[in-house]
Assembly symmetry: C2
Homo-oligomer: 338 residues x 2
DNA sequence: CACTGGCACTCCTGGACAGGGAGTGCCAAA
DNA sequence: TTTGGCACTCCCTGTCCAGGAGTGCCAGTG
């Protein structure tokens, strides 16, 4: 394919993204210094359409890029434009004020939404990839405990535990010592094995309670594949005149479904630094008209993903830059707290 | 005012709520057995309009209720219709499966959204009205602690604390004992006073650290007027054809502002069992076209509020019943965990 | 005196239709 | 290979008209 044809495609993508209207041959010839006439551009456009990169909403309208067109743009044409110094400063300042892990996530998701003017989604650091820092048992009533688990990423999980027998203060201390001895510093991935042997290590009269505790621990650790996510910027869906063809309904609904959001952020396997899924490339049916830009983050290894969701017609260079920058800085912060 | 006029108003409210279209005199006369002709209804409607209870979108259209009309309906006409047995069972089952306080709140807000088909908002139990169950210190690095506070409503707060000096394991245990001795069982309202004296009670070499700790505690307890809220059902905003006159934009934005949501749920002072704010009665500008139904909840005393937000044109009897029922049941659950 | 039927009037709504404009495809010429 | 010209297509907008729903008012009735 011609170099000029690529330039024409770029012009169409850029103009369409900024004006939101089909772009015609004349506009391309005028606004972008290609040094050729509109008629020539028309020929190139006919070619690009034939090749499936652009399409016409109807005869006698300008062209708009297809998903395939955007893909080519992202892969070969878009130069990522770095954040401005002011933006960079704002990111640093805003995130460094976070007071705990929850706050880091909350701030991150807001920041992403604001920077990109799109819907942002941030996954809380995944439990499976972190390790146990501390376990705490608090007795609420004689037969009811609260179990609090703190991980090295600073995440706190809490669960109620009903105990089969009444426990003394002493019993609780015993149990706490036991679980901490066994689990402290262990990766959560290894935890199930250890937890299995927990009941056997307790004093005979505490066996039943210890196994109740073990069950709850397993639930929070293993069965806890449902991971939490934070969302912000839903209001941006109404930007640019309701970008989703149909109603907002299904989108808003999907945004409240954690399962869907997790799917959106991509399976754990994707360790790529940054992923862009355009249109059909999305597995989630409701987001077939959207683009999702995601990045992994974490101290050293990836413990979670973050990303933004927007119309396929989005500012790719800007969005990609923002997601990447934020993911990097959040990783740095987590690194510091190790 | 005539009894029959009230019946006409009720008819208009009910029909408009269900059909979402201005209701004319003929429809009222036919569908509701008032025993009078359409012409008579017309006269009554003229009166009701004069009195400000209903209005015409334009000449030669049917009538729709005004905020004042809804108010009268709620105060004098609407008989709350209790939840069906099935709904009641569903509420109990769904909420009783909650595994911790966060989960109670999450489930509650979803439940409300689903039952009422509107946007639901639930405030996390307010810190100020609960008391300290336990404080836990975990050292992350030699100069960095994590402070975890557990309250008797089951809420967990966490904060990082930078310590001015390196701490040994022993030091941390000492500090933990100290803060627990001083604060355990104390109401958070009384906490600031106690926290003030904390540093003075520590070993001399731990004074500096203790006062850093005290500062963070004060921040989480006192300055923590910003309270968390959960939202669900935003997708319901698109029901019934975008009920808000303008765009969804401002509403979606407001729903992400915690400050606004707190305002929406009403100031702490409102200890009324159930509040209905219709249209202008709302202080928040963006919600002038909406109705907010809120209720307080808590074990014994009110520790938080919950509510739903919908069009003034809402099913008042059903919504009020749902909010009341859910608030009651959540209160029961909290009571059990005391 | 309250209620009723009838009637003229208002105003919204949806469909049909024409004019203007933007953009294209194609062709012949440079 | 590029260019200017030209006919053509199709959307968009505004206008117009008929249909329909609902009202207000008035005169008549029990």
């Amino acid at each position: 394919m011609d170099d000029r044809k690529l330039e024409v495609l770029r012009a169409i993508v850029e103009d369409y993204v900024s004006t939101q209207e089909p772009v015609g041959s004349k506009a391309v010839a005028q606004r972008h210094a290609l040094g050729v006439s509109a008629a020539t551009v028309r020929n190139d456009m006919a070619y690009l359409e034939e090749a499936g990169y652009i399409q016409q909403p109807h005869t006698s309208a300008g062209r708009i890029p297809t998903a395939k067109g955007y893909r080519l743009f992202v892969d070969r044409l878009g130069k990522i434009k770095p954040l401005s110094a002011a933006e960079r400063r704002a990111v640093h300042r805003f995130l460094s004020e976070a007071i705990d892990l929850d706050d880091v996530v909350t701030r991150t998701v807001r920041l992403l939404a604001q920077l990109t003017h799109q819907v942002a989604v941030v996954q809380y650091p995944s439990l499976n990839r972190s390790s146990v820092r501390h376990l705490e048992l608090v007795s609420l009533t004689p037969t009811r405990l609260m179990l609090v688990m703190i991980t090295d990423t600073g995440r706190v999980e809490q669960r109620y535990v009903e105990t089969p027998a009444e426990l003394t203060e002493e019993d609780v201390l015993d149990l706490r010592r036991l679980v901490n001895e066994q689990l402290q510093g262990k990766a959560l991935a290894d935890a199930p094995r250890i937890i299995g042997g927990l009941a056997g290590l307790a004093r005979p009269e505490l066996r039943a309670t210890a196994s109740a505790l073990a069950r709850v621990l397993l639930e929070s650790v293993v069965a806890r594949t449902e991971e939490r996510v934070a969302v912000a910027g839903a209001a941006n869906l109404t930007r640019n005149g309701n970008f989703f063809a149909g109603s907002l309904r299904p989108i808003l609904e999907a945004l409240e479904e954690e399962v869907v959001l997790m799917q959106l952020l991509g399976r754990a396997d994707s360790n790529a630094l940054l992923t862009v899924r355009i249109g059909d490339e999305n597995e989630v049916a409701d987001f077939r008209e959207a683009t999702v830009v995601t990045a992994g983050y974490g101290p050293g290894s990836v413990v979670g993903h973050m990303g933004v969701l927007g119309p396929t017609r989005m500012d790719y260079p800007g969005t990609i830059a923002a997601v990447r920058a934020v993911a990097r800085y959040v990783s740095e912060i987590l690194e510091q707290n190790r």
